[in-house]
């Protein structure tokens, strides 16, 4: 009985983890290239969630089609933020960029709140479910999972195989050297930031496919914190490391629940979260470059 539940939770955790991973890849990409921690990460996820919400409720467009729209919105936002704010701060101490990304996130949250109100919303999209015996998976979750994997694969291909990806990698390795070789470093920074934000907004859409309710302007904060743990797990600088980090995080978040719930008098969810942060600290101590050898 316990074993069944554990298995069920692990499966759910795996599916959720894919989505977490996809939503965090942007954070790692931005850090890897610009050495900037995007503290406003959650706000961009929120933008993606609202995109999916509005497209569905107002235009009847399902989230799968909303995803590319979200990506475009994210790209636009990313370029705007980079050229208006971040460009000046690339060489500044991390304090400045931390505060700046925080300010951007805050601005997004407040603007969305003023325009759309602070109500909690959701959308209802039901396309059947898959009964696995130990657990039940609605098809929407499976789509979210598949979408996340697809995004990760596409990012990998882009990063490894395209010219732009090569330019990016060269800048990461040695910005001065890349400049000397004729790479427009500022453009690479802008592009990386934009793609990072684009991925994050897209991640928001995927997330709503998993959890289509409770959408509101302040929903992002929780996800920012989770994203930090995931990004560290996968290696702060590695975008697809983040994907695997997400998988592990999802499995632990869900799987540990069943085990922790057997201990009397504790609140398993909160403890699982505490554990995830302890895990974060341990990883930072032992292997700050993350658990995976990807670069």
């Amino acid at each position: 009985m316990l074993g069944e539940q554990l298995l069920g939770n692990l499966i759910q955790g795996l599916v959720l983890g894919c989505v977490y991973g996809a939503a965090t890849m942007g954070l790692s990409l931005i850090f890897g290239v610009l050495r900037v921690v995007n503290v406003g990460h959650g706000a961009f996820i929120m933008v993606g969630a609202f995109t999916a919400l509005l497209l569905f409720n107002v235009f009847g467009i399902n989230p799968i089609l909303a995803a590319p729209v979200a990506l475009l919105i994210g790209l636009g936002l990313g370029f705007a933020v980079y050229y208006l704010v971040m460009q000046r701060l690339v060489q500044a101490p991390e304090l400045a960029s931390l505060l700046a990304t925080f300010g951007v996130g805050l601005l997004l949250e407040e603007t969305v709140k003023q325009v759309f109100g602070s109500e909690f919303r959701g959308y209802y999209w039901s396309v059947g479910q898959l009964d696995l015996g130990v657990t039940v998976l609605p098809m929407t979750k499976l789509y979210a999972c598949a979408g996340s994997v697809l995004v990760a694969v596409l990012l990998y291909i882009w990063h490894r195989k395209t010219r732009a990806g090569r330019a990016l990698r060269s800048v990461v390795e040695d910005a001065e050297g890349a400049r000397v070789c004729g790479v427009n470093v500022n453009w690479v920074y802008a592009m990386s930031f934009a793609i990072g934000i684009g991925l994050t907004v897209l991640g928001g859409v995927l997330l709503t496919m998993f959890i289509p309710v409770g959408i509101n302007p302040y929903m992002g904060g929780v996800y920012t914190l989770k994203a930090f743990v995931i990004a560290v797990l996968g290696g702060l600088a590695s975008p697809y490391g983040a994907f695997f980090g997400g998988l592990i995080f999802g499995i632990i978040e869900n799987g540990s629940y069943t085990l922790l719930a057997t201990i009397e008098g504790v609140e398993p969810f909160a403890l699982a979260r505490a554990l995830s942060f302890i895990m974060l600290l341990v990883i930072l101590l032992i292997r700050p470059t993350g658990l995976f050898k990807t670069k």
Partner: protein, 336 residues
């Protein structure tokens, strides 16, 4: 100049700081409707001064700073709620509360420091976030100190002090303590700056590796600054949150936005300066108050772009800019 005169002169910079706090106290005490506003300003100044001891002097961003204030709050709460049964304990409950809060903050900072201070830059920042969040969920999850029920101890406070005094404690004396804490933090800041530790920290802030090569024991000084800063946060939590508001709920005291506020205050005023956090705290607190009163509901919408402007255009903060202009003139020795 005789040595003793130069020695004393080094501490002239304390005058504007202590003077400012005295003035704040007098204004608040003198005007009938200003005390709570002064209290709020004092809180922000104290927060800034305490945080500046670490962030300002080392340049490291401790994103989990509020956890120290949180445990400080618990220290006072535990002291009062448990000691209310003891006959005639009176003011000792508060003294013990302060001591307990400071001790808990020290212990936590030692634990955190042992792990996080080995890291640098963004890794350090993230590690400290992990501490704050992890600790909060641990308190809730393992149900220590009542878990998410928190501790409400207004009644215990009344039992110990009687209704009149208890109310006065919450609405006046707690804030006086906050002012004292802010002033003390200012004194300690200058002490740091004028002594070996200050030079070491300035060196490591500029270039940690170079400082190490020169033989400076960076780890020792980092830890000293870290713990000192944490202790002040603990004291602040014990007074401004516990004694003043008479309750503690984990999500209310382990709130990351306080850390962000502390960062903003320090940056706004000028990180690493003595006057900076004071100025930053005043400006921040007053702006918030003004916005809350004249444009309720819109504060954050105005605040966010302002923050961006400050970060981009005034990175050295108000006092930093002031220092650049007046630093070399005689008045400059008061602007530190």
């Amino acid at each position: 100049m005789s040595p003793s005169r130069t020695r004393l002169e080094r501490y002239y910079a304390l005058l504007p700081v202590l003077g400012a706090y005295l003035v704040l106290f007098l204004i608040g005490n003198g005007q009938p409707d200003m005390w709570q506003l002064v209290a709020m300003l004092a809180f922000y100044c104290a927060l800034g001064q305490a945080f500046n001891l670490f962030l300002g002097m080392t340049g490291y961003v401790d994103f989990g700073y509020v956890a120290f204030a949180g445990v400080g709050t618990y220290g006072m709460a535990i002291s009062i709620s448990h000691l209310s049964a003891v006959e005639g304990i009176g003011g000792w409950a508060i003294a013990i509360g302060l001591l307990l809060g400071a001790t808990m903050a020290t212990l936590l900072s030692l634990a955190v420091g042992a792990v996080a201070l080995r890291l640098r830059g963004a890794y350090f920042a993230i590690a400290t976030i992990g501490v704050n969040e992890g600790f909060r969920y641990f308190v809730e999850g393992a149900r220590i100190w009542n878990g998410s029920d928190g501790i409400i101890f207004s009644r215990d406070l009344r039992l110990i002090f009687g209704r009149e005094t208890a109310t006065a404690l919450s609405t006046f004396w707690a804030d006086v303590l906050v002012l004292l804490i802010a002033a003390l933090a200012g004194v300690v800041t200058l002490l740091f700056m004028r002594n070996k530790i200050g030079y070491a920290l300035t060196a490591l802030r500029a270039d940690e590796d170079a400082a190490k090569v020169m033989g400076i024991n960076v780890t020792k000084y980092k830890i000293m600054a870290f713990i000192t800063s944490a202790v002040f946060a603990g004291l602040l939590g014990a007074t401004a949150w516990a004694l003043k508001l008479t309750y503690v709920y984990p999500p209310d005291v382990f709130e990351i936005h306080y850390t962000v506020e502390a960062i903003v205050i320090v940056m706004l005023g000028g990180a690493g300066t003595l006057l900076g956090p004071l100025v930053g705290g005043l400006v921040y607190g007053l702006s918030k108050y003004w916005l809350a009163v004249t444009l309720p509901g819109f504060q954050l919408l105005i605040f966010a772009p302002l923050l961006l402007v400050i970060v981009v255009l005034f990175p050295e903060g108000l006092v930093g800019v002031l220092k650049k202009k007046i630093g070399n003139r005689p008045l400059g020795k008061f602007i530190v």
